[in-house]
């Protein structure tokens, strides 16, 4: 991705840059400009203007976790900082960067007095160049020598990971290695043990396995170069001139790769793809051309292009991305291909929210977010029509709206993938079942509509709450939920993998992962509570979060019954519940009072503290059957 081709052109670039410099809130003013197709020079310019105002500290009320990123390597990396920082700005994430003194990454990691330690990073990126990692290798080495070298290099990298984790207890990222080396044998290069090119391939394979085992995230430079061509990312002449392994022109793209990982760690990846229909999922206009007239499927190059778009969307859905439809059409017309066209890949069951009507698209996209109970800032809107794209960008700047290249559907999957909207750190069982869950929700809605009263509905759901303490199996999902739940989240504490491991090991704490199943299916893990006995006899609820899709189903009082029992088992006679306000969690301000806690403090910023006397607490009766276990 030589260019950020999914982003629109900036228009009057210089005027917009000047406006940022003059704005009261330079940060907020710069975000729209960061979301245009910036090249290297313009990326640096935006960075410079914003840094004049917000170099060290983020603006107040930014609403995301500020990142202090240490970039560690053995060659020139200075040209990549602005790309990373501006890619953060694009996502409203403030990133301060640090780079080790030339070649001194190991010394700085080891020395607690070093500038690196002084910087106090909360994220570390290892960006080792291929030349550094293959020092001493040559074509005459035996297979045994090369095997030993691979062990040595992989071991040294792992040592860096553990040094960083021990020192900073923060997420670690590792750039995979660019294969910058010309082949010596040729097609069968793998038969030459001492080939540096082969060594890089083997090292990357090793890094992938070890990164998964040790909880390190990869910046897959090797994949990017394989897709784009090595010459896009690396210029040997520049390496010899200035020891820049990644070409400066690729700084914006490199920054994207890093910032989308950082955003994913903060749970700020997009969750839902909203699709237009006519000339986006098929060629032609269904209302005019009819079922037989639209272009889709085998036999026509254009039709196969649209099939490819649908297949890409379907695969996204299979790995956890929600699909929705927003189309200016009569509902029946819009639905017809999904139900009847033999070449359709997407079927009604694949679409979680379907809005086909004659209202403007911004209103429909708002309605889709409401239907699905997710934030507008987790939607991506795909539409071939530039007018609709611009309208949505204007009305709903938090919705991502990719450019669609050259009116050719064949290019759309590549652009969507390059844009990295749906960057995910892994796939959980819940991700795979997400579409089914939305289907089950529809069945629940129908039951609710047919039940005459709330009690009858809740009883008819036949709910089971299945809970267990945190365990290594569920850990990935627990961390994912802790970092992406914004609305029903009392404290919004973003715990890391390491924090969760510490809670599991602490006898005075408990972490509960709670599933909810009913007659329509399993909702997966829908709530997480962490309690800590901070003083004898008193358990403080460090974290209480819940998925909004189970609101109104008595999960809250049932969860409290569970938490009270756990706290009593630790010997506590009271529970403390705190609420800290954010932009998004106003719905749970009075959560504890509603559950029978007594408010004992309220601060000017809107936070409050509440207490529950466990000696007199009686569990509330609910329609949810509670069992301990880990599967529904």
């Amino acid at each position: 991705m030589e260019q950020l081709r999914w982003l629109p052109e900036a228009g009057d670039w210089r005027a917009r840059l000047r406006a940022i410099a003059a704005a009261d809130d330079a940060w907020a003013a710069a975000i729209p400009l960061a979301n245009t197709r910036l090249d290297f020079v313009r990326t640096n310019a935006v960075d410079e203007v914003v840094r004049k105002r917000h170099a060290a500290a983020p603006p107040p009320c930014i609403g995301t976790k500020p990142v202090r990123l240490a970039i560690l390597g053995a060659s020139t990396l200075a040209h990549l900082h602005a790309g990373i920082r501006v890619a953060g700005l694009r996502r409203n994430i403030h990133i301060a960067t640090y780079e080790n003194d030339y070649g001194q990454y190991l010394q700085e990691l080891l020395d607690a007095e070093s500038a690196l330690h002084g910087f106090k990073p909360n994220a570390v990126l290892f960006a080792f160049d291929a030349y550094h990692l293959t020092q001493g290798l040559h074509a005459a080495l035996s297979a045994d020598d090369v095997d030993a070298a691979l062990e040595d290099v992989a071991g040294r990298i792992e040592k860096c990971w553990s040094l960083a984790k021990d020192a900073f207890a923060c997420p670690v990222m590792q750039q995979t290695v660019l294969d910058v080396f010309p082949a010596l044998l040729g097609n069968n290069e793998h038969r030459l043990p001492g080939s540096r090119s082969r060594f890089v391939a083997r090292l990357n394979e090793r890094l992938r396995a070890r990164a998964d085992a040790l909880g390190v995230d990869l910046v897959a430079l090797d994949d990017a170069a394989r897709r784009d061509g090595l010459a896009v990312w690396h210029d040997p002449a520049l390496w010899h001139r200035s020891k820049q392994e990644v070409r400066p022109a690729l700084s914006p793209s490199y920054g994207e790769l890093v910032a989308r990982l950082i955003a994913a760690r903060q749970g700020r990846s997009y969750k839902c793809l909203v699709l237009d229909l006519d000339n986006t999922l098929w060629g032609g206009v269904i209302g005019d051309d009819g079922l037989d007239g639209i272009v889709l499927g085998q036999g026509s190059p254009l039709g196969e292009g649209f099939t490819a778009v649908q297949e890409f969307a379907k695969d996204l859905a299979r790995r956890g991305i929600i699909l929705a439809v927003s189309s200016k059409n009569d509902h029946a017309n819009a639905m017809e291909p999904f139900e009847k066209h033999p070449e359709m890949v997407l079927r009604p069951a694949d679409i979680a929210a379907f809005r086909a009507n004659w209202q403007d698209k911004a209103s429909n996209i708002r309605a889709i977010a409401q239907d699905l109970n997710i934030g507008l800032d987790s939607l991506v809107f795909l539409d071939d029509n530039p007018f609709e794209r611009n309208l949505v960008r204007e009305e709903l700047p938090m919705v991502a709206v990719p450019e669609v290249p050259d009116d050719d559907p064949a290019l759309v999957p590549g652009v969507l993938a390059d844009a990295g909207y749906f960057e995910s750190l892994g796939v959980t069982a819940e991700d795979r079942e997400r579409t089914a869950q939305y289907q089950e929700n529809r069945a629940r809605d129908q039951l609710r509509a047919s039940a005459t009263d709330m009690e009858g509905y809740l009883r008819a759901l036949e709910m089971r709450m299945v809970w267990s303490r945190f365990d290594t199996v569920g850990q990935q999902r627990v961390v994912q939920l802790i970092n992406k739940t914004n609305q029903f989240n009392l404290t919004t504490r973003r715990h890391t993998d390491d924090d969760i491991a510490a809670i599991m090991a602490d006898p005075k704490s408990f972490g509960l992962q709670i599933r909810l199943a009913d007659r329509f299916g399993d909702n997966g893990i829908i709530a997480i509570v962490i309690g800590r006995m901070l003083e004898p006899g008193s358990v403080t609820i460090d974290t209480w979060l819940m998925s909004c899709r189970v609101l109104g189903r008595q999960v809250e009082p049932t969860t409290l019954n569970l938490v009270a029992a756990q706290a009593r088992a630790l010997g506590a006679h009271r529970l403390i519940g705190e609420y800290f306000p954010t932009k998004k969690n106003g719905m749970v301000r009075d959560h504890y009072v509603k559950l029978g806690f007594t408010r004992i403090a309220e601060a000017a910023d809107g936070s409050n503290t509440n207490v529950l006397d466990l000696t007199s607490f009686e569990p509330a009766p609910t329609f949810i059957h509670v069992v301990e276990g880990s599967s529904p």
Binding site: D39, V41, A45, H79, P248, A249
Partner: protein
């Protein structure tokens, strides 16, 4: 685009972008000594922008031989001829 006026017009835009100015006056003898902030980093920005703008690639010898804006304009003219 080999016309010298066009090359200078394009270079002026590039220099304005790189140095975040509106009014750079480019002359053949202008060099890094004359412009505040024209360091090795800005030099790379200029070269990246020139290569993208003119669709050319400067080789190591050509870059090493650059002493001022005139040299840059000459090499652009040669490579776009």
């Amino acid at each position: 685009m080999t016309d010298s006026t066009d090359i200078y017009a394009a270079l002026t835009e590039i220099f304005n972008d790189v140095f975040m100015a509106d009014d750079m006056k480019l002359t053949p003898t202008l060099s890094a000594r004359d412009v505040a902030g024209w360091d090795s980093f800005k030099q790379i920005e200029i070269l990246v922008a020139v290569e993208a703008r003119f669709g050319i690639k400067l080789n190591t010898k050509e870059i090493d031989a650059l002493k001022n804006v005139g040299d840059l304009a000459d090499v652009i003219a040669k490579k776009t001829a």
